[in-house]
Each structure stands twice: as C-alpha cells, then as structure tokens.
C-alpha cells in the first residue's frame, strides 16, 4: 500500500494519477469498493478523509473495515487530507473526527511501503 497525504487542494490526486497511471474505473472517491465485482490492477482510494467523516456521521465507521480492505488490496494507493494542523475545534464531532483520522493515518503510515506528502502538487517521500 502506498499512502499519500497532504493539505486540502494540494494536487494529491493528480500527483497520484500521474505517478501510478490508474484507470478511472479503479478510482474510488470518498468510498471503499463495495466488495462486488472483480477489480484488476491498482486501486486508488481518493479522499479517505471523506469516507471516514461520512461513515462517522452515518454511525457505520469501523477501523477494521479500512484495515481489512488494505489486507485484501495490498497494492492500493490511499490518498487522504491532513486535517490536524489547526486549532482544536469547539464542535465535539469535529474534534473526534480529527483524532480518529490522525490515529488512522499513523497506522496507515506504519503499514505503508511508501508515504508521500504532497504540497503544491509536489510529492516529498517521507517514508
């Protein structure tokens, strides 16, 4: 698995597309594959942050789902926003979201064979 992180609107997806040449049908934006159908080739999960936020809102959030997915598709590319670099939000949900995504990103970075941080469309390999 390869992990790409960075701030909002930094060109992370474009960077990943150019680097990994993933077919459009294998790009999942803000969601994980539902498990039906066959997937050939590399997968991109773009905006994992959106997926986590939505599943927290829906009450369906489970870390295990994410880690199981990576077990199943160990060659995937995961793209996610860095959201922890700000003032602690007053809103309880927002605080919880930041904590949750931060902790998951640490786990993902541990599992990843490569971690890149994208700023201004440029990737820096940090692992």
């Amino acid at each position: 698995m390869k992990l790409i992180i960075g701030g909002y609107a930094q060109g992370k997806f474009k960077y990943a597309q150019k680097k990994f040449q993933v077919e459009n049908k294998n790009v999942y934006d803000g969601k994980l594959p539902d498990g039906t159908g066959n997937i050939n080739g590399t997968l991109i999960i773009n905006n994992l942050n959106t997926y986590i936020r939505q599943s927290m809102i829906d009450g369906t959030f489970s870390e295990k789902l994410i880690f199981d997915f990576i077990d199943k598709y160990p060659d995937c590319v995961i793209i996610t926003d860095e959201v922890g670099n700000g003032i602690v939000p007053i809103d309880e949900f927002e605080r919880g979201f930041r904590e949750t995504i931060g902790r998951i990103q640490i786990e993902l970075a541990k599992m990843a064979e490569e971690v890149e941080r994208v700023i201004c469309g440029i990737g820096q390999k940090i692992k």
Partner: protein, 176 residues
C-alpha cells in the same frame, strides 16, 4: 540541549517525543512536565491516554500548567532530562487564566524565557508543540492572538533548539 518536536493533532508527536527522550536518557532521571488542565471527561481521557503510553517509561511527572519557570525548583540538580508536553496548553493557560487576557507578546516572552531557563537546568529538554496554523479559518480576536503567540513561541524555540523535528502521521521529518 534542546529538541523541539512539532506536529498536528493526533500526528503521533507525543509518542515520538517520549521515545526520543527515552533514547537520550539512558539511566538518567526523566521528568515529564505536564501542562494540561483537566476540565472535563474528555480532557481526563486525553490525560489517561498519555499516561498509558508512558506508563512503562519511568517518568517523574511534574504538573506545571502555568509559570513554567517554577518547574525548575522541582527538578534535581544532578544530570537529568525532561519532556515538556505541550506548548499549546501552556500558552492557552498563560493567556486565558486571567479574566484580562494577556497579549501574544507578553505570553510568548514569558514562556520562551521560562523554557530557556529550564533548558539550562537539565541536560536534555524535549519540547512538544503543535501546528495550529493551517486550518484557514478566521477566528475571533482572542483565538487569533493565541495563534500569534504560538507562532512566536515556536519560532523562538526552534531558533534556540539544537534539533527541530516535525511529526507527520507518526513519521519524523528533520527540519533543523
């Protein structure tokens, strides 16, 4: 020797800083200077989580939510190390503890001065600070002043520090 560690919320900065200090300390006495004031259950949980992480690391805890220079008197004179966790709480406590909020300038000068003195007292000081600067939100005056104070403190401490390390998703990046 001063080591400055910065990262966002839930970036893994504390664990990194603790492990770093452990590696530096060998058999030396290790102090954990805690700055967080607990107001509610959520704060309590945060403190508990941090205690869990460091439970086998053999730290002596000093609670110093304000007036950081006062921690000096609670530390042995003999060769020892300390971890200061963290600048964001210390700054908020200094700034907002009084009904009349202090200015960024006054708060920053006081904290930086206190930390420099603390650094002179111990053999190695690891400081944890937070990146609170990149959410793009325009806040009220008090919060803006707080962000400015944090910026000044980080800048001054990073200048004094022998090493500056950013932690991103648990990965350390050497900045200085």
């Amino acid at each position: 020797m001063m080591i400055f560690v910065i990262g966002g919320s839930a970036s893994g900065k504390s664990e990194y800083a603790e492990d770093y200090l452990m590696a530096l300390s060998n058999e030396k006495k290790k102090y954990y200077i805690a700055t967080m004031q607990v107001y509610d259950e959520e704060g309590q949980k945060k403190v508990e989580r941090h205690k869990m992480i460091r439970k086998d690391k053999d730290f002596i805890t000093i609670e110093q939510p304000i007036n950081i220079q006062n921690a000096i008197d609670k530390i042995d004179n003999f060769d020892c190390t300390a971890l200061l966790e963290c600048i964001s709480n210390l700054t908020a406590n200094e700034m907002f503890s009084d009904i009349n909020h202090k200015s960024a300038e006054i708060v920053a000068d006081k904290i930086v001065d206190g930390i420099k003195r603390l650094d002179n007292k111990v053999s190695q000081l690891v400081i944890v600070s937070n990146n609170v600067f990149e959410d793009g939100i325009v806040y009220d005056n008090a919060t803006t002043e707080y962000i400015k104070a944090m910026g000044k403190i980080n800048e001054k401490l990073a200048e004094c520090a022998d090493e500056v390390i950013e932690v991103v998703a648990g990965i350390s990046i050497i900045i200085k």
